[in-house]
């Protein structure tokens, strides 16, 4: 299976037959607890109320001058419905947390990409360079396990950034030979360049200073297949897309002589980006006009809307006719309630979330079946639900189809 809480493989769970059981995954644990708490406190809204609310919501959408469809979309079905609704309404469409994904996307669109999928990386890689900090492991606690092969061969991991001892220990426990270098993440692309030049220079002059760093760097240069891993969501640098671009350029240059690839770690929102791309040609941040999608990473972004800039900068009358459709089909620990900017306060909000009072939305892959992309964006798995669902809870795609009719 693919974990419906972090988009990573958690096959161990399925193999043990108990899909609710947590195997050393704090995030999954927290999500299940949170979801259970939500459901315990919820009761079914009267069906007349649901019908009336649907009618009202449709009326608002029909009357709206501007519509934004946003949120946390984690499944193919919901992404499809969201795109269809956006096309029907000539709406703007952007996932709320796509900002992270877009850091990678914008860099890829400028520079290209050399990437590798998880199983391939496990099989081929002799050196992983993992760039980030502890937050990366908190968001995806099973990352070390996902990168380790069970073929008995020890692989090296170089942690660059800021990692606590416990984090380093987790990599060791997963069987890696670990080197950790505390450094400014922003300096990593430049440092890698220098390091490779330095070692290559030393080797060509047969000089060996005998320092530990040389041993490390020499191993790096000798690597037959290096995989560089980062999670854009946890990159603490200014202008992350430029950082990603520099990393991609460094990786491309390595491939002139050896093999080197990236895993730009994604999360649940990667599914939306894939579906939106195949339906419209664009990965998100689009505005429909006459049923035709227009890509505008700047002004069609969720952040732009929420800050009350761009399309919302207009008279109060127009603001009254702006509607935001908020979708959340995840059990992410922070509930999704978009902070409306000063100029967007007057927007109407239609909420399709697990917490919603009316349109109670199931968590994809936990309460309803879902097709979900894995974190490396390669495998699209069908994730079967493993938690009970009340009759009053429906999939997000169900609600979106209702709003569209």
């Amino acid at each position: 299976m693919i974990c419906s809480f972090c988009s990573l493989l958690c096959d161990a769970d399925a193999a043990h037959g108990d899909r609710t059981k947590v195997f050393d995954c704090s995030r999954r644990d927290q999500s299940i607890v949170r979801l259970s708490a939500i459901r315990e406190n919820q009761s079914a809204a009267p069906s007349e109320l649901v019908e009336r609310s649907l009618c009202e919501a449709r009326a608002h959408l029909k009357a709206a001058d501007r519509v934004l469809i946003t949120g946390r979309i984690a499944s193919v079905a919901t992404a499809r419905s969201a795109v269809r609704l956006a096309a029907q309404l000539d709406a703007t469409l952007d996932c709320a947390e796509e900002g992270h994904v877009f850091k990678n996307i914008l860099a890829i669109q400028r520079s290209g990409l050399n990437s590798v999928s998880l199983a391939e990386a496990r099989s081929m890689t002799d050196l992983f360079i993992v760039v980030g900090d502890d937050a990366m492991l908190d968001a995806c606690p099973r990352m070390p396990m996902a990168l380790q092969s069970d073929d008995g061969q020890q692989r090296m991991v170089l942690l660059l950034g800021s990692f606590r001892d416990e984090s380093i220990q987790r990599w060791r426990e997963s069987g890696f030979v670990v080197w950790s270098v505390e450094c400014q993440i922003s300096e990593v692309p430049k440092a890698l360049n220098r390091c490779y030049e330095w070692v290559t220079g030393l080797r060509s002059t047969a000089a060996n200073p005998g320092e530990g760093s040389f041993t490390l760097f020499d191993s790096m240069v000798r690597s037959r297949y290096t995989t560089v891993v980062w999670s854009a969501a946890n990159l603490q640098v200014q202008q992350p897309d430029l950082w990603v671009e520099r990393m991609l350029q460094w990786i491309a240059s390595q491939n002139e002589t050896t093999r080197c690839a990236a895993i730009p770690w994604s999360s649940l929102d990667g599914t939306f980006q894939q579906v939106c791309t195949w339906l419209t040609g664009f990965p998100g941040r689009i505005r429909f006009q006459g049923n035709v999608p227009h890509y505008d990473p700047g002004t069609s972004s969720y952040d732009h809307w929420m800050a009350g800039r761009g399309e919302l900068v207009m008279g109060q009358d127009a603001l009254d006719k702006s509607v935001v459709v908020v979708i959340d089909e995840t059990a992410t620990s922070t509930p999704f309630l978009p902070p409306l900017g000063w100029n967007a306060q007057a927007c109407r909000r239609i909420e399709l979330t697990p917490e919603s009072e009316v349109f109670k939305t199931a968590v994809a892959g936990a309460e309803v079946p879902a097709e979900v992309f894995r974190a490396d964006q390669t495998v699209l798995a069908r994730v079967e639900p493993f938690l009970a669902i009340g009759t009053h809870v429906r999939s997000a795609s169900y609600w979106l189809e209702k709003l569209a009719t």
Binding site: Q109, S111, A119, R259, A261, W278, T378
Partner: protein, 560 residues
């Protein structure tokens, strides 16, 4: 309900073309309705031709590489017209796609408005199969199917290297085709994609894989045996070694030999028949390949014709895509190593008339079309979007049907191409019957689609009506009407009824032990169980989606 098409010339490449009435009864064609059956609709169609729905047997319309090409190139999307304008336009000429890799909605509509009703994605990576099917499900109007990409999957290479019995490989291939709901098997640069992961930059057909020590010839032999043994209708679909490399005709002919007289399909053949002669060390060997095709009844090709202009190339052949990285325009590319199964490379590319190699490739493609005698064994493709977007088919048809038009393009090519090419001496002009054979009958036969591609009693009523025109490009760019399963879905530029879709799959007999065996291996090789990727048949079904079989357990395999 019965629909009667009155007085059009019916052409299907099997029966002689003739002016007659054609009846569509329910979802099928019938020669004449039974007495008392009511005719629900009649269309008088003098000066029109009626043909079966077009079948594109090699077009990249779904899966990871197509989507990353879209992701890489948003700047290629140009909506010069709104969708409403596109829908309403009266021009007979098909407008350019909004992008060489448009979204699925546009892909479906644009194929239908050329008269195509079935398309096949030729490179479905196993790990990516659900994604490919999901995209194709979102491509309206078209029936679809996929060819499973094997021959670089490390498990297969390992098994060939350790000389496992051929039966084990047959069972594996059958299991994989079933599990991924595909209808054929494709091999891309056998072993070469995997060799590139070990930093090998070239692998000839008898070269050794750096890790497993096996050769592409062994892989091709084993896979072609498996495909034949398990009874797939379509022969092994081969993207040969040495794509685009001068002198690669030797590898292509050796590939044919590697199949040891078994049936074989060579794809985008124009990229695989180059010699080393001529002023630039790059020459046409189309004649050699065509002669081999003409002399080998079980051998078919699709051409993958290029057209001049901007496009994007995408291929599982990471090795050769990487080799061409510096030719990318604009200068950016994506390369992926994927799941111990294959890889992909995406490179934007601009073909120019005045560039020697581009002109040569164009002329080689046309040469192949003209030199292969049997139009049911050479198929009209551009390897969309690699050679050109599929919307260039009407233009390509004109090139084949009109010698003077062909020469008017030829005259614009690099002078050295004009000096060395034999194209001017090939006066053949395709007839309408031959165009229909290469775009309908031939692909249907090659894929085992027994009820498609013809206008016989009982065939599927996917029927296209074209107005006769002097200029075949205008004629094939925009049909008068398209019927899908007997229902009128398109008329005079207007899309009428939504139509149901089918996914074409092969249902094969599978060794019951293979599942457990692969489950264990999958866990250790890929880190997850086979259940993660195995696609259930019911996933392909919905209120508007059905499944059709190109082969079914217990049935006799139709043969080319």
């Amino acid at each position: 309900m019965i629909t009667r098409l009155i007085g059009a010339t019916c052409i299907d490449g099997v029966s002689p073309s003739e002016v007659r009435d054609l009846y569509l009864s329910g979802e099928t064609i019938c020669s004449k309705p039974a007495a008392g059956q009511r005719i629900g609709a009649e269309y008088s169609l003098p000066n029109h031709i009626v043909v079966a729905g077009g079948i594109d047997l090699h077009t990249h319309i779904g899966g990871g590489k197509v989507n990353i090409a879209r992701l890489l190139l948003p700047e290629f999307v140009q909506h010069s017209q709104t969708q409403a304008e596109l829908d309403d336009r009266n021009s007979m000429m098909i407008a350019a796609l909004s992008s060489p890799v448009p979204g699925t909605w546009e892909t479906g509509r644009r194929y239908l408005e050329m008269g195509y009703t079935a398309c096949f994605e030729p490179a479905v990576l196993p790990a990516n199969a659900r994604h490919a099917h999901a995209e194709m499900a979102d491509t309206p109007w078209l029936d679809t199917g996929g060819y499973l990409l094997l021959g670089n999957d490390r498990l297969l290479l390992e098994w060939i290297a350790t000389d496992v019995p051929q039966q084990q490989i047959n069972d594996y291939v059958a299991w994989m085709v079933n599990a991924h709901q595909c209808c054929a098997v494709k091999v891309v640069n056998a072993g070469g994609i995997d060799a590139f992961k070990f930093n090998q930059r070239h692998l000839d057909i008898d070269g050794q894989h750096p890790h497993f020590g096996i050769t592409p010839r062994q892989i091709l032999s084993s896979l072609s045996q498996a495909v034949e043994s398990i009874g797939l209708a379509h022969p092994l679909h081969v993207h040969c070694s040495n794509l685009g490399v001068a002198g690669n005709i030797a590898a292509t002919l050796a590939t044919i030999d590697a199949a040891e007289s078994r049936r074989l399909h060579l794809t985008h053949a124009q990229y695989h028949c180059y010699g080393t002669d001529g002023p630039h060390g790059y020459s046409s060997e189309a004649k050699q390949l065509a002669e081999r095709v003409n002399a080998t009844p079980g051998l078919s090709i699709d051409v993958g014709q290029l057209q001049f202009g901007q496009t994007v190339t995408l291929s599982g052949d990471t090795m050769h895509q990487f080799a061409n990285r510096k030719l990318a325009k604009p200068r950016k590319a994506i390369f992926q190593d994927l799941e111990c199964q294959a890889g992909c490379g995406v490179l934007p590319f601009r073909y120019r008339h005045e560039q020697y190699v581009h002109g040569l490739l164009w002329s080689i493609g046309i040469e192949l079309f003209l030199r292969v005698e049997d139009p049911t064994r050479v198929f009209l493709t551009t390897d969309h979007p690699n050679g050109a977007p599929f919307t260039s088919y009407p233009h390509l048809i004109r090139l084949l049907m009109d010698y003077d038009f062909r020469m008017s393009i030829f005259d614009r090519l690099h002078p050295d191409v004009q000096k060395t090419s034999t194209l001017p001496s090939l006066k053949r002009e395709y007839s309408l019957d031959e165009i229909v054979q290469m775009t309908r009958l031939g692909p249907a036969r090659a894929l085992g689609l027994v009820n498609r591609g013809v206008l016989c009693d009982g065939s599927l009523a996917d029927v296209v009506v074209y107005s006769r025109r002097e200029n075949p490009e205008e004629m094939f760019a925009r049909p008068k009407m398209v019927f899908r399963r007997g229902t009128l879905v398109y008329r005079d530029g207007e899309f009428l009824n939504p139509s149901s879709k089918a996914t074409m799959v092969a249902e094969l007999e599978v060794d019951p032990h293979m599942n457990d065996r692969l489950h264990r291996i999958w866990r250790s090789h890929y880190g997850y169980s086979t259940e993660l990727i195995r696609i259930r048949r019911d996933e392909l079904l919905s209120s508007h989606r059905t499944v059709e079989y190109t082969h079914k357990v217990g049935s006799t395999t139709p043969r080319t």
